[in-house]
């Protein structure tokens, strides 16, 4: 014998949203064949707002070569890392957020500091990755970004151990 909840759910589970519902490019699919001028004006206004939000995020700013690095706490799982990346990408003034693994960080460090003939043996003296705790998110920073504000915002993100911002000299 079905309960009322089971009966209700069985009946209303037949309702499904249209497959056309999507956020892709803020498309507003029209289903009806005709609409009033007022409705047209509202839709065009909403489309304009959607496209403005989309293109604003893609517009060409004067990004410098300056980078920021957000170092992560130990033993962060993938879900947490994805959440941290999402938080960083939302901040004003950052672009091209990329994950740098500890292995990549060590390789980059070696390429930068141990590339000369004299320094060749230095890297080989390390039996383990000395930067094993240095996985981070690297990103470009907007030229006119409020670096102090940006640093504070990044430091407050759960899972962030250290923030390093390189200010470019004019």
């Amino acid at each position: 014998m079905m309960t009322n909840k089971e009966r209700y759910k069985q009946a209303f589970s037949t309702l499904h949203a249209s497959r056309q519902i999507s956020l892709e490019g803020c498309k507003m699919q029209k289903k009806e064949k005709s609409f009033s001028l007022n409705r047209f004006a509202v839709v065009m206004g909403a489309l304009l707002i959607c496209c403005s939000v989309f293109y604003w995020s893609q517009s060409v700013y004067a990004y410098t070569d300056a980078t920021a690095k957000v170092f992560l706490e130990k033993d962060i799982d993938q879900t947490k890392m994805d959440a941290i990346q999402a938080e960083i990408e939302k901040l004003d003034g950052v672009k091209d957020v990329k994950y740098i693994s500890a292995e990549q960080a060590w390789e980059d460090f070696q390429n930068k500091y141990f590339s000369g003939e004299d320094a060749k043996g230095l890297a080989e003296s390390f039996t383990e990755n000395p930067l094993e705790d240095s996985q981070n998110f690297a990103m470009k920073v907007l030229k006119d970004a409020d670096l102090e504000k940006l640093q504070k915002e990044m430091e407050q993100i759960d899972g962030v151990r250290l923030v390093s911002l390189d200010k470019v000299e004019e």
Binding site: Q10, S13, L15, A17, S18, I21
Partner: protein
């Protein structure tokens, strides 16, 4: 916390559609409301305590947008409800009858009934979503059930919950 909009759409668009349809009684309007709700989530910076908190927020926004749509002076004429119901694939004739009878109730009873029976919300949670008192929710729930019992007879049990 925040979750990706696309993930939430995949998980909850049918839930929101059912809520919107409950109020709008129109497939097209309900689709518009669901689209607008996810767009609002996508463009807001609001942080949430949990996924359940996000879902409750989405439902609240859906309800508000549905009500706004019903009162907008440029609202299109509603799609024919009966025509739309005929397109749905019910498991039994009783299911179809139940949906029709629920949709014949007044909106203030329909939405409380839906949040209780479909979304499994408690009286307290429904009162928070609808921003009405718990006693108000209890009254609406009781009256809605009484009406459904009269309309559906043996197809609706006496609730002891």
């Amino acid at each position: 916390m925040r979750l990706q909009t696309e993930e939430l759409m995949e998980k909850y668009k049918d839930n929101l559609f059912a809520v919107a349809f409950n109020i709008c009684k129109s497939q097209a309007d309900a689709d518009d409301v669901v689209q607008d709700t996810f767009l609002q989530y996508h463009t807001t910076d609001k942080q949430f305590e949990s996924e359940q908190h996000i879902k409750a927020w989405l439902i609240r926004v859906t309800i508000n947008k549905s009500k706004n749509k019903m009162t907008a002076f440029w609202r299109r004429h509603s799609d024919n409800l009966d025509d739309y119901i005929e397109t749905l694939a019910f498991e039994t004739p009783e299911s179809e009858n139940l949906l029709e009878q629920v949709m014949s109730l007044k909106e203030k009873y329909r939405i409380v009934i839906h949040l209780f029976y479909y979304e499994d919300y408690s009286v307290r949670e429904i009162s928070e979503i609808l921003n009405v008192s718990e006693s108000n929710v209890k009254v609406r729930l009781t009256r809605g059930r009484t009406m459904l019992k009269r309309l559906l007879k043996e197809e609706w049990n006496d609730d002891d919950e």
